[in-house]
Amino acid sequence: MTGGGRGQALRIEGLHKSFGDLEVLKGIDLELAEHEVVCLIGSSGSGKSTLLRCINLLEPIDAGRIVVEGDEITAKGVDVNRIRRRIGIVFQAYNLFPHMSVLANVSLAPRKVLGLSRDDAEARATELLDRIGLADKRNDYPDRLSGGQQQRVAIVRALAMQPDLLLLDEITSALDPELVAEVLNLIRELAGNGMTMLIATHEMSFAREIANRICFLDAGRILEIAPPAEMFSAPREERTRQFLQRVIDAGRL
């Protein structure tokens, strides 16, 4: 399912990352085609978040290469800020800027990084907020919104930079159950529009529905990559089976 004729959005080769003596990523190889959605599953501490943070260069890597749309972003002397414009990331804890209105949150980077005028940036932000039904909240501060609304604003803030690739780091894990759906619906819509996404998630049924491929991470290694049907019905690895059994036992599948 890597999509024959499509271009390559992301290629990771032999990625290693340690925090002190703790090796979190022990040689990751992964490719994403353009418009592909890949979900990363695995228990907490398996390295999902670290992998996403490495791709966005928020963490320096120890070894390996990361190539985005044909450009090696881990090469020496690349402009980190230029790379990050093309890769959006949404965090578990939203990380909205609490001292700015919703509109300012979404329009800050387009203004300061892309050099858009305030009017243009705010028009773009308002349009995006309108698409998620939050245009009327644009002058509110983030703390006045519900968790689901905040997370959708965070997604739109990343989209305002028109990234080639969107990384989602367990974006529904901090939400009340009844707020999860509104966030997942937005991701579903983005996938339908062809956004390339790498999604770390614990929402197995969502992963099964949306992903082109599922990637099981275990102790810093990709143990198994397969289309969802295969991964959930006939996992090859024993560790994958154990993990999925635990998920089923917990009632999350």
Partner: protein, 294 residues
């Protein structure tokens, strides 16, 4: 509703407890009990203050002390002179504060610069802060105010007022930079991560995301240092600059009466208290705007 606040009230962490949104009473007090509490507070205050007043005024030397410190005639005589001299103090602390706020911020940022390249910058900034916090302000004022004009360097001002401002700026920017630094460090690293992930460079992340949040959090301690600075402007009297304390001392020496000193104290109280209330209001307004009324 509990009698004590929840243990995890985030407001407590940044010194804003009870200031989020409109004020709420923590528990409902029946009217009878409230009246009784007020009555008890009133009686006990009258008793305590009355006893203190009696103890002081019953001292055999009280009439002399009253004439020396609480003399209405000398108060009326010195008041306009002191208010006029206070203009010098205002100029000192306003100009110094305007220099301190940006200088201290630069120092705080310099101490936080990462990587080995900036090691000398960090080292210098740290040394600066350590040095000017260690040496008494009066010494810095004396050394700069007497020392540098004595050198008589060409092109260097010999004015005591000028060196007084420099000395106050050097000393207080060391304190204020530590306040800023605490504020910057209190902003969670995920805020910088979010800003950088959008493509903002480090400078932009600091300017638009980190610093605005840090400064909002440290407004009360910044005001604390500003009040300290206002009061320390009297140290400049040691250079012979005629500010309010110098003026009071001149009157005291000429009229053999200490009442001007009490007038000086009163003037400092009059300007400090409204400033403190204004800051409280500023912090409350900011918190109310950002926080929901949960």
């Amino acid at each position: 509703m509990t009698l004590t606040g929840g243990p995890l009230d985030p407001g407590d962490l940044i010194g804003l407890a009870g200031r989020r949104g409109p004020r709420r009473s923590r528990r409902r007090i029946p009217p009878g009990e409230a009246l009784r509490s007020t009555a008890i507070a009133l009686v006990s205050t009258v008793v305590v203050v009355g006893a203190l007043a009696y103890a002081v005024t019953s001292s055999p030397n009280w009439p002399d002390v009253r004439d020396a410190f609480f003399n209405g005639v000398w108060f009326g005589y010195s008041w306009p002179l002191l208010v006029e001299a206070f203009g010098t103090n205002i100029a000192l602390f306003v100009i110094a504060e305007l220099l301190i706020l940006p200088l201290a911020l630069i120092l705080a940022i310099a101490r936080g610069l990462p990587g080995p390249v900036f090691f000398p910058v960090r080292l210098l900034a740290t040394f600066y802060v350590d040095f000017f916090r260690a040496v008494p302000g009066l010494l810095i004022i004396a050394i700069l105010g007497f020392g540098i004009p004595a050198l008589d360097l060409p092109g260097v001002p010999n004015d005591e007022f000028f060196w007084a401002i420099i000395a106050l700026t050097l000393v207080y920017s060391a304190y204020v930079s530590e306040v800023y630094r605490a504020g910057i460090e209190s902003v969670h690293w995920s805020q910088e991560a979010a800003a950088r992930s959008l493509g903002l460079n480090r400078l932009q992340a600091y300017r638009f995301v980190i610093i605005p949040q840090a400064v909002r959090r440290v407004i009360p301690p910044l005001l604390n240092d500003f009040i300290g600075l206002q009061k320390d402007t009297v140290l400049v009297s040691s250079l012979g600059v005629v500010e309010i304390f110098r003026e009071a001392s001149i009157i005291k020496a000429a009229k053999f009466n200490f009442t001007p000193y009490l007038a000086v104290a009163l003037i400092f109280i009059i300007i400090t208290i409204p400033l403190a209330r204004f800051t409280d209001w500023l912090v409350r307004r900011d918190a109310a705007r950002q926080m929901s009324n949960r």
